[in-house]
Symmetry: C2
Subunit: 501 residues, 2 copies
Amino acid sequence: MSHYQKLVQHTLKIANFNHLAAISGWDQAAVMPSGGNQARSNAMAELSVLLHQLNTEPQLGDWFAQAEQESLNHREQASLREMKQRWQQANVLPQDLVQAKSLAGSKCEHAWRTQRKNNDWQGYAKNWQEVVNLSQQEAQIRAEANNSNNKDTNCTPYDAMLSLYEPGTTTQSLDVVFNNVKTWLPNLIDSVIDQQAQQTIIQPQGPFSTAKQKELGLEIMTLLQFDFNHGRLDESVHPFCGGVPTDVRITTRYDEADFMQALMGVVHETGHARYEQGLPKQFAGLPVGEARSMGIHESQSLFFEMQLGRSPEFIQHLSNMAASSFSGHNDAAFSQQNFQKLYTRVEKGFIRVDADELTYPAHVILRYEIERDLINGKIGYQDIPELWDQKMQDYLGISTKDNYQNGCMQDIHWTDGAFGYFPSYTLGAMYAAQFMASMKQSVDVSAAIQSSNLAPIFNWLESNIWSQGSLYNTDDLVTKATGEVLNAEHFKRHLETRYLR
Amino acid sequence: MSHYQKLVQHTLKIANFNHLAAISGWDQAAVMPSGGNQARSNAMAELSVLLHQLNTEPQLGDWFAQAEQESLNHREQASLREMKQRWQQANVLPQDLVQAKSLAGSKCEHAWRTQRKNNDWQGYAKNWQEVVNLSQQEAQIRAEANNSNNKDTNCTPYDAMLSLYEPGTTTQSLDVVFNNVKTWLPNLIDSVIDQQAQQTIIQPQGPFSTAKQKELGLEIMTLLQFDFNHGRLDESVHPFCGGVPTDVRITTRYDEADFMQALMGVVHETGHARYEQGLPKQFAGLPVGEARSMGIHESQSLFFEMQLGRSPEFIQHLSNMAASSFSGHNDAAFSQQNFQKLYTRVEKGFIRVDADELTYPAHVILRYEIERDLINGKIGYQDIPELWDQKMQDYLGISTKDNYQNGCMQDIHWTDGAFGYFPSYTLGAMYAAQFMASMKQSVDVSAAIQSSNLAPIFNWLESNIWSQGSLYNTDDLVTKATGEVLNAEHFKRHLETRYLR
């Protein structure tokens, strides 16, 4: 057996255990009674120890060195590259740093759940400075490793964290696109809010039973060609897309007073799910057969939610289906026009997760700029509240002075040191806009949606994105699909077309 | 760390992986879409390989030898005894025999699914003789090991198989109780059928919606004090009780034409579940903290289903609750008297899983006598159809001549070589009757059920059975609880009291 084949076998073994971790994790979030949590956490921790052992087995370094000398075809070379990157990321950190960060992160996150409610920045900062410190060490080590592996790059500490979620994307390229967005977004937001001030909107009046909402969600998933032979819809407190590509588990959360959020949440998660379901089956269990990056994953969920789901033609379907599910309700509230207004309402707010399509990038760029400078050591953790307030004023015109709970303490990401993740959200939104612009050159998207046969749209995504897995780096994937690398102009044009009248 | 402590740690590690196997198995049966099956089966097979490695690690033999020299208290000694028995059972067979039996069993079981429908005994026998042959080899090796471990016993091959499910129970003791049953059961069945011939019974008329049946099942589980903080009710094709003691997953199957079977199925599985939920928490994850045997497990489900569930007082609750769930139906069908008749109807039939309380033991004794003689080499596999026919005529007065599909080909157990399991069903029924007889000496069972506060009943089971785990062998457990070892007279008296008027 070649060393490449040995690596493939070992990686498939790891995939089998990751499968069990994914299903146990879904179970814990979606169906497990709370009394089962302690034993489940123990079992999942045991599995993590095993996975760490498998990912760091000493002979792997030798196998990679040998495999790189073997004669491999193009796809095998891509597969080897992805396996090696995974292995390097799992092995580069000293074990005591991994454990220290995990402990400090758990401690900080646990206390944060109370401290946030109490607006207790001082208490939070006491735990968090250790998380920041350890994350800076992690970033430094990862950057050095990246630089010694590739003499042509100059990887900064933050670049190294970014590459955990967006391999190939650099601070340099992000600065270009995000600086572009910053030149037009604040003015666009103001103009749109001005225009919308005159709108009359009718809020549909509930209650909307969970059972009916679930039926409606399943109906939408059917329209979106979700494969129910390879997946399910369930409920959880925090909606997510989990499971494995052969069995994708999406969840939503129902509010009997408002069905519209859960409904669009299902559309969003179905985007993630169809990407997973459409990944190349010949590479099942191998990194090269997995999603390209968090940003590309988010591009699919946001393609479904924003590009497809908020198009006038799709909203026509949504409003028809919702009206027939919740008959007896005020007709005007269920009109296409009213749904369109509800689903494109723009408001300036403090909270990222509640933000609309137009203000969301402002929240992300703010976090990107702060975490970039924090991890690169240009600012300290104690500088953040003031920077946050200043950037909120610059980008959205609202102040978070002394309002830590709705400012820099609002997100879970930083509490355990997940620095480098935030850009993915807005990268996803931008890629989605670019994919739609490119798709429209060959597909009559509007006609496809109107006809309720969305296959031409999904065929484009499947052949250009889903079936490509991680065969190409992000720039190549996007260039093959759209003829150019990431270009923020598509996003700008999309927002102006949708929001400016 | 003492060697005993090392063994405990290793066993808890195994328990963590068994936890993942239990939850993945539940998921596969209860919620997994069918397209996920191949990848799931691969993942679970990988986990089995790991568990086999952990159960057969070479240093364990030394650890057991050392631990037996260490100073241990009574409970630790019991824990060590149970860990060692588990280890011996996992290590005694040569690996090639385990694999050969697994392969032959899978092949036979797979073909059986079609062969049974076609009444194809010849085709079945071709695969099955290999399963029998390998099972005989397995039994021989296990018996020799048992005899060399304990010079005082004379363990037959069948005894060795029996001890996998009923450790401590021997052919000798089973022959005594089953021969006792055979002296009175056939006549009792005839008398009861004669008496019931005059009965008028009304079948409740459906449809009964799945949603309402599920609500009713949850209501009954609440009455039975199922702990929903540590368990769930779901659906599956074959009802079972799975999961782990901190998170017990029971399932049922709904038929909209008939709610009564699913309802009593829920009562049965709740009996299994409460045993699991009541196991001693200080031994969680250790064999000594697990259920004593399959027969004792079945004694709890049958205590719930037969002793408690079919008592006139409990049936009064069932009929009231069902009538209020399915209001609008014919009142007479939902009377206590009619429910009692429906739930105690006796009929001679071919199929064990469809048998009633009274005829069920005949099916089990027949299988026991045949598998005992087959594994001990006193008969050959080709003798079975004739023996089956003859015993069916002797015990139930019906013939299975040339009717293999409803005769010796009806059960899945033998297809993959699970010889020694069948006695557990009737042992469970007998233990349940004995527990009830003993409980009635200190608990006013009838009053407890009538009052809807069943705590006194469950307290007796919890302190005498559930909380004892595997601290004692079965004879000692039963003697501590009831003052004597298994005594078939209690079962006889129970059946006569219930069925003879």
